[in-house]
């Protein structure tokens, strides 16, 4: 298929049911996810209780709203998830959802998850697409939103985004640890030997290898197999089995469900139409009444830039020397999913400049469990917390400090070693995109 063919096919008008279907499942998924988040008390734990938040570089100005306003943000998100599902005030709802969800995700990198990133990206894409053209409340309230037909490329955009998680997730697995040591699966599978029936097999190294290589090929090919008519159903069954298995084995929250549900976008439009028809029995689609705007050039241009950006983001870690699992520069926002079992021991040596007094501080004293764990092995967070400590003691009236990190880390079962140069005063170091020289190089 030539590029010209693709462009022509992309312009082909198809039923808007696929977009409406995706809008509904996305809305429902977000609703479930938000309710789950609130019911577990995580809002309180993650965004109200901490005394310090690990902001993202460049987004330090984003701060959590105080209680109860932060709750209002979540209530607004829940309402938006409902109105997105219903297709009510869709454009406004999805823009609000995107902004608020992304705001929450930017508050603290210690709770960064790849699938939260995916939610932000999908929501952003959905801001640009007329997903309320059919099967929505809007079409009854505002006639101009009625759009029974939309160009096929709009569905492709969503498929591309869903498929890229698999594909880039697969590329990220092309590492020595994954391929030739079956790590971290070897550790994680053995850790699940308590699971009935399945657990009896999980301690075998060969199984870790089989699953590692299977997951690699599965990820690399999933989007293509789902796109092909003859393999789609098999691929989807595999997707369901694979993600249910990951749900059983790992503590990964909504991720498996999100992948299972969003992969349905790869099914053909008539399939989505059939499903929606169950809920909208009496409605027939009048293809002739469509009012398809002919010019999407702005949207297409913006989305092209977006995907170009998406194409580059996962590879930015290669701009830094060494193993990304160790230095983690360019690790986030790159679909590095389930790639490492990493943990560390972190203590800070704080020297007060005015009297030379030296104390040792463990981050647990100031951070909650998840913050302390994430901070212990992620160099940019180690730096941020060192700066926080310096400011903390200044605010206490104890003056300027030198802060050194004593951090031993281990990745994927390899022996622990120093992660941060203990001779470098982190107060003098700045965060940024330049290679962080105070992260000690990983030696094999």
């Amino acid at each position: 298929m030539t590029i010209q063919n693709i462009l022509q096919k992309g312009q082909k008008l198809v039923s808007s049911s696929s977009l409406a279907f995706f809008r509904i499942i996305f809305g429902l998924l977000m609703l479930a996810s938000l309710l789950r988040f609130l019911s577990r008390g995580w809002l309180e734990k993650f965004y109200i209780q901490p005394e310090f938040y690990f902001s993202f570089y460049g987004f330090e100005w984003i701060k959590p709203l105080p209680d109860p306003y932060i709750y209002w943000v979540f209530y607004a998100l829940i309402i938006a998830a409902v109105t997105i599902t219903l297709g009510l005030f869709y454009r406004f709802s999805i823009i609000v959802f995107f902004l608020l969800f992304t705001y929450v995700e930017l508050l603290d990198k210690s709770v960064y998850l790849n699938h939260y990133y995916q939610v932000s990206l999908l929501a952003w894409l959905m801001c640009w697409l007329p997903m309320n053209g059919t099967c929505s409340v809007d079409q009854y309230l505002f006639k101009k939103t009625r759009r029974p037909l939309t160009p096929l490329w709009m569905v492709w955009v969503l498929r591309l985004q869903v498929g890229s998680v698999y594909f880039f997730g697969g590329l990220a697995k092309l590492r020595y640890d994954w391929l030739f040591e079956a790590q971290p699966l070897k550790i994680w599978l053995a850790a699940n030997s308590h699971i009935p029936v399945l657990g009896d097999f999980l301690g075998y190294t060969w199984l870790a290898f089989v699953l590692s290589w299977f997951a690699l090929f599965f990820d690399l090919t999933a989007a293509f197999l789902l796109s092909n008519k003859s393999t789609r159903m098999y691929a989807y069954v595999l997707i369901v089995l694979f993600h249910v298995l990951t749900h059983i084995l790992f503590q990964i929250g909504m991720f498996p469900w999100m992948m299972i549900v969003t992969a349905l976008v790869f099914f053909p439009t008539h399939w989505h139409q059939k499903i929606l028809a169950i809920f909208e029995r009496n409605r027939t689609i009048h293809l002739s009444s469509s009012s398809v705007p002919s010019n999407h050039s702005l949207t297409i241009g913006v989305l092209a830039l977006f995907f170009l950006f998406q194409l580059m983001m996962p590879f930015r870690s290669y701009a830094y020397p060494g193993n990304v699992l160790w230095h983690e520069q360019g690790f986030r926002f790159s679909w590095n999913i389930m790639l490492m079992e990493k943990n560390a021991s972190l203590e800070y040596e704080v020297i007060f400049k005015n009297n030379g007094k030296k104390i040792y501080v463990r981050p647990e004293k100031h951070l909650n469990t998840i913050q302390a764990k994430q901070c212990s092995f992620q160099p940019d967070m180690i730096l941020q917390f060192a700066h926080y400590l310096n400011q903390y003691y200044k605010d206490q009236g104890l003056g300027n400090t030198e802060v050194y990190a004593i951090c031993y880390a281990s990745v994927n079962g390899h022996a622990s070693r120093l992660l941060i140069d203990p001779e470098v005063d982190l107060v003098t170091q700045k965060d940024g995109f330049a290679d962080k020289k105070w992260i000690l190089r990983y030696r094999d």
Binding site: I187, S193, G253, S345, G356, S410
Partner: protein, 372 residues
């Protein structure tokens, strides 16, 4: 191309498997079996020893005269106290279940003894009985309070004897007896709560065989790490001056009245090693966390990780044994030896907290995780 890829994959997978088979000693023990073994072969016997030591001390205390303590009595009580205290130190690792839920620890081992408060009760003529002890706060009872009564402010046996033979002797003996009786009850209570014939916490412990933060393995790993930090920072670091710009603070040693802090910290380390190996010194040998490490083929730079960790335990014991004077003196008289001990404990802490946890794959947080 696709066929080639598949063929290459199979070949590579086969190579990888055969290469690592040597380090994969079949699946011999599940986590559930290890947890069950640590529970029944290590924890229960450890608690049992503590309960029987407290009973012994109480029996001894009951046997002494009500108004006068002889030197032999005092020395015997002191020896028994040390056995009891070391037994407790090994139990203290398992501050989960009944110890946490029923807040038992503060009544058993609360380090900040209110010595003047105790003396004021001794000076009063009101009888010291179980009711009074029950009404008092943690600073008035437990193992450290008994230590204070038996050793005073780190005084000689002669000075101590004067207190037990003078005007307030009977009040002091009454207080001592009441504390020993109180402790015996608490130890028996703890033992009963763990035993299958009592509260049966052992079942809760063995049933929680998962890998999340609330599993027994998760809790046990956390306790081991917390304990090793306590030993490093509180037991050794603080008296050695880590909180005081390097100037030693001898008063911060554990068990300051008896000056037995080295023996007690050794017991704490032995307690951690017991959970790690599943073996009890001079007792049974069972499955421990080291078996789980061996099972996943966990390696250090020099061989099996479990061997390296056990060697590090030995290195710590060696450093402890090299210190020939009480820790409160060693921090000033043999500070290099204490610093060397601190360094070895730090190495052990890293091995347990980083290498061991990494290979066990236990989840030490409660929230979702998808790979970083």
């Amino acid at each position: 191309m696709y066929k080639k890829l598949i063929a290459m994959t199979l070949v590579l997978a086969a190579c990888s498997c055969s290469k690592s088979e040597d380090a994969d000693p079949e699946v011999e023990s599940t986590r559930a079996e290890v947890i069950a073994s640590v529970g029944t072969q290590v924890i229960l016997p450890t608690i049992q020893v503590f309960a029987s030591e407290s009973q012994k001390l109480n029996t001894l205390a009951e046997s002494v005269a009500t108004d006068r303590l002889e030197q032999a009595n005092l020395e015997e009580l002191q020896q028994n106290w040390l056995q009891l205290a070391t037994a407790w130190k090994k139990v203290s690792l398992y501050s989960m279940g009944p110890i946490d839920d029923d807040f038992l620890e503060s009544g058993i081992y609360y380090t900040s003894v209110n010595t003047s408060g105790i003396e004021s009760y001794i000076a009063k003529s009101t009888p010291v009985d179980a009711a009074l002890i029950g009404s008092l706060g943690a600073a008035y009872k437990g193992i450290p309070a008994i230590e204070y009564l038996l050793f005073g402010n780190n005084e000689s046996v002669e000075v101590q004897l004067e207190k037990y033979q003078g005007a307030t002797a009977s009040q002091r003996i009454q207080y001592l007896k009441a504390l020993c009786a109180d402790l015996k009850i608490k130890a028996a209570d703890l033992e009963s709560k763990w035993n299958s014939s009592g509260g049966n916490y052992i079942k809760t412990f063995t049933d929680a065989s998962g890998r999340d933060i609330n599993s027994s393995l998760g809790k046990l790993s956390n306790k081991m790490i917390n304990m090793i930090y306590t030993i490093k920072d509180e037991r050794i670091g603080a008296p050695n001056g880590t909180r005081n710009n390097g100037t030693p603070q001898p008063a911060l040693v554990d068990a300051p009245y008896s000056d037995e802090s080295l023996a007690l910290l050794k017991a704490e380390i032995e307690g951690i090693q017991g959970a790690f190996t599943g073996d009890l010194a001079g007792g049974t040998s069972g499955l421990g966390l080291d078996d789980l490490l061996n099972q996943v083929g966990a390696q250090s730079e020099t061989g099996l990780l479990s061997t390296k960790i056990n060697s590090q335990f030995d290195a710590v014991y060696t450093k402890i044994d090299m210190i020939q004077v009480p820790l409160s003196r060693a921090v000033t008289e043999q500070s290099q030896l204490v610093t060397d001990l601190y360094t070895e404990v730090k190495k052990l802490q890293v091995l347990l907290e980083v290498d061991m946890i990494n290979n066990l794959g236990v989840l030490l947080t409660f929230s979702d995780n998808d790979g970083d």
